[in-house]
């Protein structure tokens, strides 16, 4: 057990180093969300109310994209290039390694949230309350979990199609109707109905302070954790 914990901590430290060395991962995890916030904030941020909508929106899409693209496709790559077998050959449980990986994503997403809050507060004079920060960090947990599970399911759903292809197909439409950059109320009624069925809308609404959407995120998390488990086991057996 002690060795499992040591390995999980080491995995957290090393995975964090790997992310910082990987320029693409570093940019999309920490720089791009800030860039988006500054860009949209500079264009439409003269009214403070838009920034109150934009901040949870950008946090929501950065949590979703990080969780979707950094967990499922990476584990699929590990399964294909033998890293998963290597981890299984080591005495500690493989979960110890992935515990560190998950902690790494939570840490980096939390850093991203803190960075965005800092830029909003000091660059745009947006009022940031403790309740908002707590909600955002809860959003990291709930959104990170549910979108990781969705990403994992999609990554193992098809052997022939690239996981990133499937995930882009899921993510991009959600991005534009989730209310991250503008209020959902300006969308046509039919699109509004679709938008409120999508998990990214639920995450963004939760981050805006609509707590009931947290329960829906738990539902997505449970549903797709079960789906990811079934699909992963099926693929392992198939191999």
């Amino acid at each position: 057990m002690i060795r499992d914990v040591r390995l999980a901590l080491l995995s957290l430290v090393y995975e964090t180093r790997y992310t910082l060395r990987n320029r693409e991962a570093f940019f999309f995890t920490l720089v791009f969300p800030v860039f988006l916030f500054v860009l949209f904030g500079a264009i439409w941020g003269r009214s403070g109310s838009y920034l109150q909508l934009l901040l949870p929106g950008v946090i929501g899409i950065s949590i979703a994209s990080d969780a979707l693209f950094s967990v499922g496709p990476v584990i699929r790559r590990y399964a294909e290039n033998g890293v998963l077998k290597f981890l299984r050959s080591l005495p500690p449980r493989t979960l110890a390694h992935f515990g560190g990986t998950v902690a790494n994503r939570v840490l980096l997403m939390s850093v991203s949230v803190v960075l965005l809050c800092g830029v909003a507060a000091f660059g745009f004079n947006t009022a940031i309350t403790k309740t908002m920060v707590v909600t955002y960090l809860l959003g990291v947990g709930l959104g990170g979990w549910s979108f990781s599970a969705i990403g994992l399911t999609a990554a193992f759903a098809s052997e022939s199609v690239s996981p990133r292809g499937i995930l882009n197909l899921l993510y991009l439409p959600m991005l534009f109707v989730s209310g991250a950059f503008y209020p959902i109320s300006i969308l046509p009624d039919s699109l509004q109905t679709i938008a409120y069925l999508l998990p990214l809308t639920h995450l963004v609404e939760f981050l805006k302070g609509q707590n009931m959407y947290g329960y829906l995120l738990v539902g997505w998390g449970l549903l797709f954790t079960a789906a990811a488990y079934i699909v992963f086991c099926y693929r392992q057996e198939e191999r």
């Binding site: 060795r3 050959s89 005495p91």
Partner: protein, 337 residues
């Protein structure tokens, strides 16, 4: 000599029985060479707390069948490997070698049959087993030192052990490199270091020296044989099997074609020498008199008396004479010659 005849299809029962009978390693006392089917040994060892030196097999594979996408990968494979012996698993690409290793390590569940290490699944004994797979798995943005340190923590082994192994292979300067910039050969060497990190009692190696130059191959084998231990390996460098393995197993089409010492398998060729003559250099008289097989643009004559072939050739003819090898034995046993 006890080589099984070439088989053309699945013969689970006879294969299993004959394999068990045949596996005794060279030099082993056949009377003492017990199998997992003798529970008395296990009970006695347990009573006296004697885990090492047990006569029960280190690896026992029994009637393993595996199908994937309606293709038969393993077809009733049975093998046993006893303590401190070295077994080489040889066969052409697609013979099922890597799949068999996956079954032993529990990465693939077979459709039928069992594979055990010291009578248990791999997961429960992996502290004592070093593994090296065909392609060395790497975290792309890790440094070599980080990758090795990670494995050291996982094995509860001091990092000095990794450093010593790097020095033995002469690659200590790789420690600070990112693994993504390593060559295939360097990755292979790191894979060997990972396998040997905890000084395991059993090594399971999938092509441990492929892609390495002869000097590094020699160093790798010195490390593997640094102390007596049980080794199960696959290779496409068949001369290594001839040199290092106590037992050589030919796998073809997912089943065991033959298994014995390298020397006994070589005897299956029914000739000690082979003469290769380029096809366009073979005189008609020789073609008529001797039986030959086509081999890489040459005709190959198997004979105990090379002069009987060479007498047909003039000084202008090109040819080569060499002793038969395990490749020749495989070709004979698989009916290709």
């Amino acid at each position: 000599m006890s080589i099984s005849a070439p088989t053309t299809g699945p013969k689970p029962d006879s294969t299993a029985a004959s394999t068990r009978d045949r596996i005794s390693s060279p030099g082993a006392d056949s009377g003492m060479n017990r199998t997992a089917s003798q529970p008395v040994d296990a009970e006695v060892n347990a009573m006296f707390d004697l885990p090492s030196g047990s006569p029960s097999p280190v690896i026992a594979i029994d009637e393993v069948h595996l199908q994937q996408n309606e293709t038969t990968i393993l077809d009733g494979v049975s093998l046993e490997l006893t303590d401190e012996k070295c077994l080489a698993l040889l066969g052409p690409n697609g013979a099922g070698k890597s799949s068999l290793i996956d079954v032993i390590l529990g990465y693939i569940t077979p459709d039928a049959g069992t594979a055990h290490i010291w009578g248990q699944p791999f997961d429960t004994v992996k502290e004592r087993v070093g593994t090296q797979l065909e392609s060395t798995p790497m975290f792309h943005y890790a440094r070599v030192q980080e990758m090795l340190n990670y494995a050291c923590v996982a094995h509860d082994t001091p990092y000095n052990r990794a450093r010593r192994l790097l020095q033995r292979l002469g690659i200590e300067d790789l420690e600070e490199r990112l693994v993504r910039v390593l060559s295939q050969g360097q990755r292979k060497q790191i894979g060997i270091v990972l396998a040997l990190l905890d000084d395991p009692d059993l090594l399971i190696l999938d092509e441990p020296t492929s892609g390495l130059d002869p000097f590094v191959r020699k160093q790798v084998w010195e490390l593997i044989r640094e102390r007596p231990r049980t080794v199960f390996f696959t290779t496409h460098i068949w001369s290594e099997a001839e040199r290092f393995a106590d037992t050589v197993t030919f796998l073809a089409g997912g089943h065991v074609l033959a298994q014995d010492t390298a020397g006994a398998l070589l005897d299956a060729c029914a000739a000690e020498q082979k003469v290769d003559v380029p096809t366009d250099h073979v005189p008609d008289a020789l073609r008529k008199e001797k039986t030959a097989v086509r081999h890489n643009g040459s005709l190959r004559f198997y004979t105990d008396d090379p002069d009987s072939v060479l007498n047909h050739l003039s000084t202008s003819h090109r040819y080569s004479v060499s002793p038969v090898t395990l490749e020749d034995a495989f070709l004979h046993l698989s009916g290709q010659v």
